[in-house]
C-alpha cells in the first residue's frame, strides 16, 4: 500500500496520516485496542516507537523531541491520561508545545471495570479545563479528516490536541467472561 493512501481500518488511516505529517516518534503505554496501531508502527521503519514506563514520561519525550525538530505522538488508554494533568498544565500548554495525544477510550459502552468507568469521567473535564482541542472519533469515514486537520491545527497554533478513540470506532474491549 502507498504510504500516502490511507487503508481501510482506523489504525491504517492513523498510521498513514501520521506519516503524511512527518510524525516519526511514537511513545506509548500499551493498550489492547491500540495493539494493531502499535504493531503496524513497529513494523514500519519510518517510525521510531517504544514503550515508556508512565504516560507523563512519554509527554516529556515527545515534547523534548518537538523542540529538537522531530514530531511525535503519545498513545495511551483512558486511565493513563489521568496521569497527565500536571505535565499538560506545566509543560505542554504554557510552553506552547503541540503535544499530540491519542487515547483508546475505556470506561464507556460496555466497560466491565468500575475503576476504568470512574477514571474515564475525569478525562474530558481535564481537557476542557486546559482548553485543549479534543476530538472523540466515532466514525471511520471521519477519521482521516479529523486527524489530518487537527494535526495541522496543533502545529500551526502551537497547542496540544487529544484524539479519543471511541469504542464506536475501534470496537473497544469486549467484556471478558
Amino acid at each position: 500500500m502507498d504510504s500516502e493512501t490511507p487503508g481501510s481500518s482506523w489504525h491504517e488511516i492513523t498510521r498513514a496520516v501520521l506519516k503524511r505529517h512527518d510524525v516519526r516518534l511514537v511513545t506509548y503505554v500499551p493498550d489492547n485496542v491500540l495493539r494493531p496501531l502499535i504493531e503496524g508502527i513497529h513494523a514500519d521503519p519510518f517510525f521510531t516507537a517504544f514503550a515508556v514506563t508512565r504516560e507523563e514520561e512519554g509527554v516529556g519525550i515527545i515534547n523534548g523531541a518537538w523542540m529538537g525538530g522531530t514530531r511525535g505522538i503519545l498513545l495511551m488508554q483512558t486511565s493513563g491520561f489521568a496521569t497527565l494533568p500536571n505535565v499538560l498544565a506545566s509543560l505542554s500548554v504554557p510552553f506552547q508545545i503541540p503535544t499530540l495525544m491519542m487515547v483508546s477510550e475505556r470506561g464507556t459502552l460496555g466497560e466491565f471495570n468500575i475503576g476504568q468507568s470512574l477514571v474515564a469521567r475525569t478525562m474530558r473535564p481535564v481537557l476542557d479545563a486546559l482548553a485543549i482541542e479534543t476530538h472523540t472519533m466515532t466514525r471511520l469515514d471521519e477519521a482521516e479528516f479529523i486527524l489530518d486537520r487537527s494535526i495541522t491545527q496543533a502545529i500551526a497554533t502551537a497547542a496540544p490536541v487529544c484524539f479519543i478513540l471511541s469504542p464506536l470506532l475501534t470496537g473497544g474491549k469486549a467484556f471478558a467472561k
Binding site: 515534547n63 523534548g64 523542540m67 529538537g68 525538530g69 522531530t70 509543560l91 504554557p94 506552547q96
Partner: protein, 209 residues
C-alpha cells in the same frame, strides 16, 4: 566500565560539593552547544545563574517550570531528535525519585548522546529541606546501574566531576553522574517566562531561526 573503577562505590563516600560551583564547572566544559535540560527547583536556578556570561546567557538550556521529574524524558526527546548533539539532563534527587522508570527507558534506548547529572542534597530543599529517601540510603547511582545504566558513577570530588563530564561529552553514553551537594541557596532565580524559554532553546538548537 573500567574507566569508572576508581570512583566511589557509594553515596556515603562521595564528597559533598556546592551546586553552583559544579554547575559552573560543567557549563565551562560545554564547547559544542550541548543542550542542557534543567529540572525544577534550585538545580534549575543555579543552571540559570551559571549560564550567564558577559556575552549573554547560553541559549541551549531549557528550564522546566513544573512537570517535576521530567528532565530526563525531555532530554531523551531532544537527544532522539538531534543524535549528533550531546544532551545533559540536570536533575535533583527528589525529582529523579519521582520518575525512576525513565532511567530504565534511557537504558532500553541506549541513548548514546545523553548524560544525566543528579544533584543530590538528600532534601526537598526548595520546600523547606524535608529529607528525601536518598538521605535514608537510596543510592541513585546504584538504582541507575540496576536500571541498566552501566556507565553510572558518583563524582568523588570536583576534579572527578569534571573528569566524568569530559568523559560523557567525549564517549558514547548513556551516562549518569551522581553528585552530592550541600544545602547552599542558589545564586539567582530563573526568569519564569515559558514562551521565551522555549523560543530561545529552539533557536539555540537551530530548530527555529
Amino acid at each position: 566500565m573500567a574507566q569508572l573503577a576508581n570512583h566511589p562505590a557509594s553515596r556515603e563516600q562521595a564528597k559533598v560539593m556546592n551546586r553552583y560551583d559544579i554547575t559552573q564547572r560543567m557549563i565551562g566544559l560545554l564547547k559544542h552547544d550541548e543542550a542542557v535540560i534543567g529540572g525544577i527547583g534550585y538545580t534549575n536556578f543555579d543552571l540559570w545563574a551559571a549560564s550567564a556570561t558577559p556575552a549573554g546567557r547560553r541559549t541551549q538550556n531549557f528550564y522546566m517550570l513544573g512537570s517535576m521529574g521530567l528532565a530526563v524524558p525531555i532530554a531523551l526527546g531532544v537527544a532522539l531528535a538531534q543524535p549528533h548533539r550531546k544532551v545533559i539532563a540536570l536533575e535533583g534527587d527528589g525529582s529523579i525519585l519521582m520518575q525512576l522508570g525513565s532511567l530504565a527507558t534511557v537504558a532500553e534506548r541506549g541513548q548514546k548522546n545523553l548524560a544525566i547529572v543528579i544533584m543530590d542534597n538528600g532534601a526537598y530543599q526548595i520546600t523547606g529541606g524535608q529529607p528525601t529517601h536518598t538521605q535514608a540510603g537510596a543510592d541513585i547511582v546504584a538504582i541507575a546501574r540496576g536500571a541498566g545504566l552501566a556507565q553510572s558513577a558518583w563524582a568523588a570530588d570536583e576534579a572527578a566531576f569534571e573528569e566524568l563530564i569530559a568523559l560523557a561529552l567525549k564517549e558514547d553514553g548513556p551516562w549518569l553522574i551522581g553528585c552530592r551537594i550541600d544545602n547552599q541557596k542558589p545564586v539567582d532565580t530563573t526568569e519564569r517566562d515559558p514562551s521565551r524559554i522555549r523560543d530561545q532553546f529552539m533557536r539555540g538548537l537551530g530548530t527555529r531561526k
